[in-house]
């Protein structure tokens, strides 16, 4: 089967989203963050001896917050607005019904597609990573970049330091 090569490029989400909200009648397009300078910290130790923190945009399941299962439509009631932390041991129940994702092509039936805790635990078990931090952390998807920078970022850093994280894996949805 052949397709237009243009179609096989990564989706241009910034333009797609701008066009989408304009079509819906919202004339105040979101301005995506952009920076000229990007920080960089080289990895200082072997991953086999490092403690890794997992950061997710997924939310802990809240039974009272409506439908959050596979195929659920967007559920604003399941959103959270502050950094949270939960034990990384076991099999925490995290959901993504409060986020926009491609509901036409993925049902969110397998949490491992947005929350790689099982694979991380396997990587620790075989010695690829030294350890996971005792907690994983949930990051709110605030529309306000000011809130993200002034409130969420220092709070997340504080928690990662508290857990003695050497590296952090961020998995947005």
């Amino acid at each position: 089967m052949t397709h237009s090569p243009d179609l096989d490029e990564p989706v241009a989400y910034i333009q797609r989203t701008r066009d989408y909200y304009l079509a819906l009648g919202f004339n105040n397009p979101y301005r995506w963050a952009h920076f000229d300078d990007v920080p960089f910290t080289p990895l200082a130790k072997s991953l086999a001896t490092a403690r890794l923190a997992l950061i997710t945009t997924a939310a802990l399941y809240e039974p009272q917050a409506g439908e959050q299962g596979p195929g659920a439509t967007y559920n604003a009631a399941a959103k959270f607005f502050r950094v949270y932390s939960a034990p990384a041991a076991g099999n925490p129940d995290v959901r993504i019904a409060h986020l926009t994702y491609d509901r036409a092509h993925t049902t969110a039936a397998d949490p491992n597609t947005w929350f790689p805790l099982t694979q991380l635990q396997l990587a620790v078990a075989r010695g690829r990573i030294g350890a996971l931090t005792p907690r994983f952390h949930g990051a709110p998807t605030n529309r306000s970049q000011r809130v993200t920078m002034q409130v969420d970022a220092p709070e997340l850093l504080r928690r990662c330091r508290e857990d003695a994280a050497d590296v952090a894996l961020f998995v947005p949805t």
Partner: protein
Amino acid sequence: MSLLARHLEAEGIPTVIMGCALDIVAHCGVPRYVFSDFPLGNSAGKPFDPASQAATLELALQTLETATAPRTIVRSPQRWSDDPTWKLDYDNAARLTPDEIAQRRQAFNEGKVVARARVQAEQQGR
């Protein structure tokens, strides 16, 4: 998430992001990014495919180990499907009927009301 990763990195914690939205993260500028050209919602690999999920994580770990400068972007060799037409569907206004656009506008506005109530409830709970 990009802003948060930048903050941790600036404060001395190396970071890597796994995701499916190349342009958004590249536009922001982050230290390390592993891009999977999959529908949004599959940043950590294909559903019910542990080999895909393991390979995606391994690529992220390798990127942590090998990146020597910021804005390092590594593209996963995995393909979602041999048929790329899935890329046409997500929030594509050109593919929606006027009725669908009206429904989505209404749903968006309703979501904002619900989210605002949620914020207020959290603030009162502080």
